[in-house]
Symmetry: C2
Subunit: 219 residues, 2 copies
């Protein structure tokens, strides 16, 4: 027989999946607005970010209720503390998506096109892949997938270094577009952070399954 | 008579003050390493960041114990949930301090000197002031001080825009030092985030005192 506690834990699971899906959408749409030069997506992404913020507070309240009423132990306690951590990282991914559209919103078509001369598109693809896989590793409780997300962070970091070099070169040769190149660099920086948060999510998945948190363990 | 619960709440208060002080030290020393070109401070800051991470986990564990054993309500519950939020922001300030020294560590004296041609020093002073005052507003439960920190965020944001312009100009006229200027821009970006986290801390102070969270309320 399912207890009230089981039901609440199941609800937590569903809410986390919903929040994860919102993050995937927010960051995917933010990058679509950049690459397709589609400014109509700007308010859509900002609205998604607001929805993600509200979802964070709902899940927080649910976790607090579970902690207060059920006094869980061992694995259940770990699930709830991981959930509390994971939603912070998800919420930040929403913030970065909003940061990205706020920058793209100010750019003209010509300026948005400049992103194609840089490695920003491949960096975007990799960062979004990490977000999707980190959420997936949670949904399926897939430890192997979580580990592969964690290992993948270096790929995105290297792409950031590459873009950094490309942008310095562009500004040095074409100073008139400096502002736009710096905005594009900031977008790359936001993507680097998105990848960091996906890595964190994967680390919380690892912790909730194994009780071991890679980073804590490595210290 | 003081109950066990009062004692634990008092312990939470003391631990938060200690963690706040560690953040102040970390960011102050990180900027000292930049402006005094003192590389011996790099490992000191990294060690502080590790200490901040451990402190976050201790406080988290304490909050969980309080929630589980004491089932607090109303203002006490608000204190504990604010504490859980505040330590995330403090932990990020530690991360940004580490990010800053990791960049300064790679620079030569000559390159570190370049920071003096930009508004980075004044931005640093303002950001550090915000951290100190946000922690102070918590220690003294000073709502007015918390509000002034929140209002001050714009000053730091404007300094970031100014530095951004300065750096674009520098790279356009002196492309050979592009890498260093971009690193300095990243330092400015980290300082902008430090100010954001100080603002968040002040908002949690506001919430724990009044039950109203400015940002949530504004939505």
């Amino acid at each position: 027989m399912r207890t009230r506690f089981d039901e609440q834990l199941e609800q937590l699971h569903v809410e986390l999946i919903t929040m994860g899906a919102l993050c995937e959408e927010a960051i995917t749409l933010a990058l679509k607005s950049l690459f397709d030069r589609d400014r109509s997506l700007v308010p859509v992404v900002l609205e998604k970010d607001g929805e993600i913020d509200r979802k964070e507070r709902d899940i927080e309240a649910l976790c607090m209720r579970l902690l207060l009423q059920q006094q869980p132990v061992a694995r259940d306690l770990r699930t709830i503390s991981s959930a509390l951590k994971m939603i912070s990282d998800m919420e930040r991914i929403g913030d970065q998506a909003a940061d990205i559209v706020e920058l793209t919103d100010q750019m003209h078509d010509k300026q948005l096109e400049m992103s194609s001369s840089l490695h920003i598109r491949s960096m975007s693809e990799e960062a979004v892949k990490m977000v999707i896989q980190s959420v997936d590793s949670f949904v399926k409780a897939d430890l192997e997938l979580a580990h592969s997300v964690i290992a993948y962070d270096d790929v995105v970091d290297n792409l950031f270094s590459k873009i950094r070099g490309e942008i310095i070169e562009q500004i040095a040769t074409d100073g008139t577009n400096g502002e736009v190149y710096i905005d594009l660099l900031m977008i790359a920086k936001y993507l680097e952070r998105v990848a960091d948060h996906a890595t964190n999510i994967a680390e919380w998945v690892e912790y909730s399954i194994t009780g071991i948190h890679g980073e804590m363990d490595g210290e």
